[in-house]
C-alpha cells in the first residue's frame, strides 16, 4: 500500500510527498558558530512510517526538538496539517495532535503506571483548579480515560504493572509506557526519539510490532534511530541527515547504497586503501 504512495516520490533530499502532514522550510538552528540544523525543505508523508537516520551529531534530535517546540530555530517555518507551528509552545504542539517521546525516557517515576497513562489523556476538565474540587464534574471523564488506559496497557503488556510505580519498570518497559502514554490523547502523529535505545532484544520485537500497529491505525510515525536493522524492518521511507542537512531520502532498501550516505557514515575516504597511501 504505502509502497505505492512513495512510488512517484523522487529519491532526493527534500522530496515532495503526495500528502504531507509536516512541511518544513529553511529551518536553521545554530549554537554560536556551530550549525546544528540547516534543513532547506522537509516533508513527512501522512500515515507512513518515516525514519530519520544519520551519524552521531547529525542534528536529528535537535531537529526533533525544533519540530515539537522544545527548541526554537533562528529562521524557518514548519507546518503541521497546514497550520504553522512556528513559535508554538510544546504543550500546544501536543494538543494539535503531534506527540513526542524522548531519547532518555521520561517515565514519571513516583507516579503509578496507571497515573502516568491518565496524565496523557487530553480534554480533562478536572485539570482545571476550580473544577478539581468537585469530583462529580470530572468523575465520568476519569472513568473513560481509565478504561482507555487499561486497553492500551493490555496491548503494551503493562497491565499487570498498572499499580506499580513507573520507577520500578525496566528500561524497555519505560519505553513502552512512554509510547502508550503518548497514545492516550489519540495523536495524529507520534515522534519517537530513539525508541530502541537501551531496550533489551527480547522487547525489541514487540516494540517494532507496536509501531507497525500504529501505522495500521492511521497514525503517522516519525522516528529517529541508529539501529539500521530496525529501520529496514519497519520504515516506509528513510531520511538521512548529516552535519545538520538532509543529504538523502529514499526507501529503506536502497537509501543506504547512496554514496553520500555511505560517506557520511564511514568517512569520505572509505574506499581508499590506506596501506598504499604515503608509500
Amino acid at each position: 500500500m504505502t509502497d505505492d504512495v512513495f512510488a512517484s516520490v523522487p529519491q532526493e533530499p527534500g522530496a515532495p510527498k503526495p500528502d504531507p502532514i509536516v512541511v518544513a522550510d529553511n529551518v536553521h538552528r545554530h549554537f554560536g558558530g556551530l550549525t546544528a540544523v540547516d534543513v532547506k525543505h522537509f516533508e513527512v508523508q501522512r500515515g507512513a512510517i518515516t525514519a530519520l537516520i544519520g551519524p552521531n551529531g547529525a542534528g536529528k534530535s535537535t531537529f526533533f526538538n525544533l519540530l515539537t517546540g522544545f527548541d526554537k530555530p533562528q529562521t524557518g517555518d514548519w507546518l503541521f496539517n497546514g497550520h504553522s507551528l512556528k513559535g508554538v509552545s510544546p504543550a500546544k504542539v501536543a494538543r494539535a495532535g503531534k506527540v513526542r517521546t524522548f531519547q532518555l525516557t521520561k517515565a514519571l517515576s513516583r507516579m503509578t503506571v496507571l497515573e502516568n497513562m491518565r496524565l496523557g489523556a487530553s480534554d480533562q476538565s478536572g485539570e482545571n483548579f476550580f473544577v478539581a474540587f468537585a469530583k462529580p464534574l470530572w468523575k465520568d471523564r476519569e472513568e473513560e480515560i481509565t478504561a482507555k488506559a487499561h486497553v492500551l496497557l493490555k496491548r503494551f503488556k503493562l497491565y499487570e504493572k498498572k499499580d506499580d510505580y513507573a520507577g520500578t519498570l525496566s528500561g524497555g518497559q519505560r519505553k513502552l509506557l512512554e509510547m502508550a502514554r503518548a497514545l492516550m490523547s489519540d495523536p495524529e502523529m507520534v515522534m519517537l526519539d530513539e525508541p530502541m535505545a537501551g531496550v533489551n532484544p527480547a522487547l525489541t520485537e514487540s516494540l517494532l510490532d507496536h509501531i507497525v500497529q500504529l501505522k495500521q491505525e492511521g497514525v503517522t510515525v516519525l522516528f529517529v534511530e541508529h539501529d539500521m536493522h530496525m529501520v529496514r524492518r519497519i520504515s516506509d521511507w528513510v531520511v538521512v541527515m548529516a552535519e545538520g542537512r538532509i543529504i538523502a531520502e529514499g526507501p529503506p532498501h536502497t537509501v543506504m547504497q547512496n554514496t553520500e550516505v555511505q560517506e557520511a557514515y564511514l568517512g569520505a575516504h572509505m574506499d581508499t586503501d590506506l596501506s598504499e597511501e604515503g608509500s
Binding site: A94, G126, N128, G167
Partner: protein, 324 residues
C-alpha cells in the same frame, strides 16, 4: 509533670497550628509540584501585615483576610513570573531573597506609620475584633489537661479557629492532590518536559501551585499574628527553614505529614529544653544558652532523621527507592 504539661500544651498551641498551615502550603509547592520555595516566611509576613494593617485601620475581619490573601497571591505572581520558566534552583534563590526584602521593607523606618518598623504592630491594635467574636468566656478555661485563656491571644478561641483552618486546608490538599489537577502537578514534579510533551501548560500549573501554597502561608501568618503580634524579625529565614524541617520530618507529599511534623517539632523542642534545664547544672549551661542548645540538638536529631528516614515519618519508602 510540668514538662509533660508544657509539651502537651505546645502540641496544640496556635503557633503549632500556624506552622502546620504554613507547611501545608509548602507541601503544595514542594511535595506536590517540586517547587523549591525558600521564602514561605515572606508569604506569612505579608499575610500578617495585610490582616493587621487592614483591621487596625478599621476594616472588618473578612476584609483583612482578603487583603492578606491578595497580598500573598500578588507576591506569588511576581515571584513566579520571571522564575518559573527557569530551572528549579532559581526559584529557591529568588524566594529567599524576596522574603528577606519583605522583612527589610517591613522594618524600614520610612514605613513606620504603616508597619511599625522593627517594633512591628502591637497585638492590641488588631486583635480586638477577632476576640470579640469568641464564644468562650473571658477567663482561663481548663479542658481535659489543658488550660488556656478563653478569648485572649493564645486562647481556646484562636486554637479552635486555627485547627479548623488546618482541617479545611488538609481537606483541600486531599481533594486536590487526588484530582486530575494534582496529577498534573505531580507530573511536573517528576519531569516537566514529559508533561509539556503531553500537552499541559506547565508554566500555568506551577504558577497556580505557587499562589495556592503562598496564600495558605498567608493564612498561617494571620493565625500566628493573632496569637502574638506582628514582628517582622520573627519571620526571618529560620522560620522558613523550620517549616521545611517539619515538613520533611512529617513527610512531604503526604496528607498529614505537615501536621504531625509541626506537633513533633514544637513538642520536641519544648521537651529538649525542659530536660536540659532539669538535667544539666546551671554552671555548665545557663538559661541564655538553653535555647540555642536545644535548637542544636533538635537540628542534629532532624539531620539523622533525614539521613536515615528521608521520606519522613509518614512517607512511603518505596517512593524514594529509585532516583532518576
Amino acid at each position: 509533670m510540668d514538662l509533660i504539661y508544657d509539651i502537651l500544651r505546645e502540641a496544640i498551641a496556635p503557633t503549632t497550628a500556624a506552622f502546620a498551615l504554613a507547611a501545608i502550603g509548602l507541601n503544595f509547592h514542594f511535595g506536590l509540584t517540586g517547587l523549591l520555595n525558600m521564602g514561605q516566611a515572606g508569604f506569612m509576613l505579608l499575610g500578617m501585615y495585610g490582616y493587621a494593617i487592614t483591621v487596625r485601620e478599621g476594616g472588618p475581619i473578612w476584609l483583612g483576610v482578603i487583603v492578606a490573601i491578595a497580598c500573598a497571591a500578588v507576591f506569588g505572581l511576581i515571584l513566579g513570573w520571571p522564575t518559573l520558566k527557569l530551572r528549579g534552583d532559581y526559584l529557591a534563590i529568588v524566594t529567599i531573597a524576596a522574603a528577606e526584602m519583605i522583612r527589610y521593607l517591613g522594618r524600614s523606618q520610612n514605613l513606620n506609620d504603616l508597619t511599625g518598623a522593627s517594633t512591628g504592630i502591637r497585638g492590641n491594635d488588631f486583635k480586638g475584633s477577632f476576640e470579640m467574636l469568641s464564644p468562650f468566656p473571658d477567663s482561663q478555661v481548663t479542658f481535659l489537661v489543658w488550660t488556656f485563656h478563653g478569648t485572649r491571644s493564645t486562647s481556646w478561641w484562636l486554637l479552635v479557629v486555627g485547627w479548623t483552618l488546618v482541617a479545611l486546608m488538609l481537606l483541600m490538599y486531599w481533594r486536590l492532590s487526588k484530582s486530575p489537577w494534582g496529577r498534573v502537578l505531580k507530573g511536573i514534579r517528576e519531569d516537566e518536559d514529559a508533561v509539556r510533551s503531553l500537552g499541559k501548560n506547565v508554566y500555568s500549573y506551577k504558577m497556580q501551585a505557587l499562589v495556592i501554597g503562598g496564600v495558605i502561608g498567608a493564612l498561617a501568618g494571620i493565625i500566628w499574628a493573632l496569637g502574638a503580634s506582628v514582628q517582622p524579625d520573627s519571620m526571618g529565614r529560620p522560620t522558613t527553614f523550620w517549616i521545611w524541617t517539619l515538613l520533611l520530618l512529617g513527610g512531604a507529599a503526604t496528607i498529614f505529614g505537615p501536621v504531625l511534623g509541626s506537633i513533633l517539632f514544637w513538642g520536641s523542642l519544648v521537651a529538649v529544653k525542659g530536660l536540659a534545664s532539669l538535667l544539666i547544672p546551671e554552671t555548665l549551661l545557663n538559661t541564655q544558652e538553653l535555647e540555642p542548645f536545644s535548637l542544636t540538638l533538635v537540628g542534629i536529631t532532624l539531620m539523622c532523621l533525614v539521613i536515615f528516614r528521608p521520606q519522613g515519618i509518614l512517607g512511603d519508602k518505596k517512593e524514594l527507592a529509585f532516583n532518576d
